[in-house]
Symmetry: D2
């Protein structure tokens, strides 16, 4: 008999930040950025839709680029822990009277059945799935390291890291509480709005030991639900510096960075996909939370600037001031 | 009603590799190494026992140095996920007729009640605990970053990372299977002995997304159960290079490294604590496993050398050959 | 017979940026910074004067800390190429009716006879010397690497790199031209004042393949001759990041950085010595100029911001605006 | 009147290691390596000859690839300090009865008149030139940084660094002495053969502050004059790690590294051009010598191993033993 008996059922759980489906006005420009500059593998192309993954991802894709008129986010997809968790979540959502759409297998290439719903309070399109193909890369790209699907190349993005989504200050509390209560995200670090001490300004949450797989941030400028950024992970701080050096010399709109967040202690660089104009964070390092009794860290107004930027290119979040990085991913950026 | 109902009980679980209690013949030399060179904080001293933690650890200690005649490992301690898991594990172990000793709160300073037993098949002393104090560092050492207990200093070890323990080839299969079945460790990467295809040579296992929190390796030379090494985590590959540069110039016995493992893809450097002569790995990077359906990677004989050393100073594991890093932590090393 | 006959006499030449003599109000605080935090060796102490060098410097000192009421720069010292060059420069300066003072051997400990004069147009006290002792470090500090005088420690400053001095816009042209004509410095990169196209705003000059051993910058705010900063060299970009991480957590006033200059392509971090309040640059990388026909690079107004900051924490030089890094080393800085 | 009068003539001088002309059996494979993997710019192609430069080189080329039957080195080219130095060296060589061939302008594309002779004692083909075109890169490749000829890409080699050539032990003393006496190279670090204490085993020499622009090493195995390696410079130690990570996964023969030399304190990685089978060193860091009275460092037998490898993958120079890196660039290497 094992100590860990089968009698225990943990219930449905989210396993990881899985993939994002980004609308882009120019698939060609977006591919040039994500595939040629960042070094992702284009695993499959179906008409005007391209599926890409990073060199350390074994699954079929973590990024879907869909050429369309409006560069919106089509879906934020999370992978669940067990095959049955898709249906278990489906049942539970219906019990909350949340509208759920079943997304048939193959709607995104290589992926099994998913469910789709709008984040309560946030209105962002979330999808949950378990099954995903794990295709081998073509021989020319394949790595000799079995934990890498393809050889490291370009700027070396190795996996998707997290989503940072913006929500109206009037609904952020509801959205943040909902993902904690219902999707199992734990609040790791957070801040309240300086002028509304009961309203979340930003919350970094995770289902993994990462400080965040998902952040929800109040959109004080536009009050809109939108993507702030999607982050891809690099190996080391030095890789972020190299990325900055290279990207500064390309026809790629440059945001803020490099710098080190106090919150999460990772290094950041924000740049914009030239096809979709969505903000992408190149991200490395950070601490991992293994303590099961982690107490969420609250950032007060006076320390918040160093929470955003412990060192390096400062992130300015005052709405409207310098305007740098205050808006969603169609926002202003450095020339 | 929440999607994640309280009706689900996951059972007792290990949360993390918690701490190691090392015997040392010279507390002074060991402190000089761990505290002054590596940069750990001495949180408490009780007679001839010193408690230390790294700058990113909030708990009371991850290393206990006990001055004693024999430099053995007194305990490998793992933290469980919930307070009740200590007792739940206790009950389950007794049902397997494993001898369990209750270790009263405070036996290790700052720690609550623990249970102690010998790893079946491995004979290593394991301890499980939940409660641990989280003392603030003295003001002079305290960091302004709330996720750091103290300021970064010395070579910048930031947390304990994993244990690598050796076991006789005749019992390794039993030991490895037991920790997987009973402590919830998942096999992530592994190899069989080249001449005994059913016997584990090495298995890297984790309860977290790390590739390993615990490795069990066959001791082909001495057939003894012993520590191969305890690893401490550094932020970046460059920090391992800096550590190598500095330590090469100190009166510290130098093992192998720096190099990058193919297995786990982390950078390694092995050095020896001058007080205890135990091998310590300074470790950075590596990939994280978020895939819930991860299939353990098997390393065959022909690729095993690049599994050990993808690049850098090669680890030689042929028993008796050059003798570098083949034995436990009282082993041979480079002059 | 050799191809390189003795008949050729290159005349007197400057070999290197040698050392700086800084006044400090608190020798204790300055030593804590330069010796304990940055990792310099205190080679000698004479009353209230301390002599320090970096771990890759074999000469007696590159920094003199003199406790005194006013934290001015007592001397910028350059080493000449040959013993006779001190006297040859002396003769040549007198022919220009420049007042020269002979500084007897031992006035700075470990140093031979020097000459001292005020930079024409700049008024900064320059000293030229050749002889300098090369003492071995005490055994506990001594490195096993013969090209290092001591073991690497602290933040790892390895040598003095350059001086950046400020001069009134009304005399900067004279000062800059004089050091080029008379001390053999070559202009490597430069800019004119945006509103005075014939007046140098900044000129980076060197006698070595470094882009600059000496920079002269117009002081538009105070119109005073003063030190902007003295730079110490670190091995890698990653060492500058580590320095930023550590110093942000200390009682050390933090200026701007890290970032990468477009001009010179080195990484910068500006911090302030807590004893003297002088600005110190921690500096790594950059390109070397081996082309004998190098043409000085002119930075026009529109590209100057990216010349100052190619990436990272932006340097703002608009006089009076945000005020960051616009003044000499008693200037404003980030809290 | 200037302090530095025109009356002083320093005589002819070497300014820098300029370029190497490598024979290759497969121009296609060599281009794939140097251009596509290392990131060099192909500036010009003339039939079966290709001219390349690194992203921080403004001159026309630092590497010439000539497709030919035998993968020998066609020329080691050094740039002189002044236009007239080509002829001054020509005259001086003739006075020593050394056979000199004039190489007309344009023989290597983009280069002016050169002279060619065999290194006395070494038999290596040396060429000296001054004039070289400085073409702008095509707009798509051009960098916005004026000190870079093109954008950083690939593994980011930024300039040629040095040559390491092998010579018979019976003539090495003559060759080494000759370049010091006649080309102005200074001996920076060196070792004698363990069994022949008057015979140079290796000498690292420079005309610049680098520890070496040229090394001459005794070829104890083949006794032949041949290239050991040509080195290209990377920005940081981390860039060498990235290069190792990437190249290990390519069809490129891998030699030794990464590791840090004690001699020169730079990081090394040896790989082999798949077209020519010549050894190429990817090289970063190292200390610079500004001291005009530098005393050459002698490495004794007992410390020589740590001179070769301070840390990292060890270089083994025992002739015939493991055979790693003991021979010229057609030598053995790791599979």
């Amino acid at each position: 008999m094992s100590l860990l008996s089968d009698r225990f059922d943990p219930g449905p759980q989210i396993a990881q930040c899985g993939s994002i489906n980004l609308g882009t006005k120019s698939l060609e420009k977006s591919l040039s950025f994500f595939r040629d500059t960042l070094g992702m593998e284009e695993v499959e192309r179906r008409g005007n839709v391209s599926y890409l993954r990073c060199y350390q991802e074994l699954g079929h894709h973590s990024l879907v680029l869909t050429e369309q008129d409006e560069a919106i986010v089509n879906a934020y997809s999370f992978r669940v822990r067990r095959p049955q968790d898709v249906e278990l979540f489906h049942d539970a959502l219906k019990q909350q009277d949340i509208e759920v759409v079943e997304v048939p297998a193959g709607t995104e290439a290589g992926r099994g059945t998913a469910i789709r719903f709008l984040l309560p309070g946030g209105e962002h399109p979330f999808e949950l799935y378990f099954d995903i193909d794990k295709p081998r890369a073509p021989e020319a790209l394949r790595s000799r390291l079995p934990s890498n699907s393809s050889k490291r190349r370009g700027l070396g993005v190795r996996r998707i890291d997290h989503f940072n989504i913006q929500t109206s200050p009037s609904t952020i509390n509801q959205a943040e509480q909902w993902v904690r209560d219902n999707l199992g995200f734990k609040r790791r670090e957070f801040a309240y709005l300086p002028d509304q001490p009961d309203t979340v300004m930003a919350s970094w949450m995770s289902v993994t030991p990462q400080v965040h797989d998902l952040a929800i941030v109040a959109n004080r400028l536009d009050k809109k639900a939108q993507l702030h950024h999607v982050a891809f992970n690099l190996q080391d701080f030095s890789d972020v510096l190299t990325a900055a050096d290279v990207i500064r010399d390309l026809e790629v709109s440059y945001g803020v960075g490099p710098g080190k967040h106090g919150i999460g202690q990772a290094m950041y660089l924000y740049v914009f996909d030239p096809g979709s104009d969505h903000r992408v964070e190149l991200y490395a390092g950070g601490y991992l939370i293994f303590d099961p009794d982690w107490e969420a860290i609250e950032w007060k107004k006076e320390n918040f600037p160093e929470g955003l930027t412990w060192y390096g290119d400062p992130i300015d979040t005052a709405p409207g001031s310098r305007g740098r990085d205050t808006t969603g991913s169609a926002g202003l950026r450095r020339k």
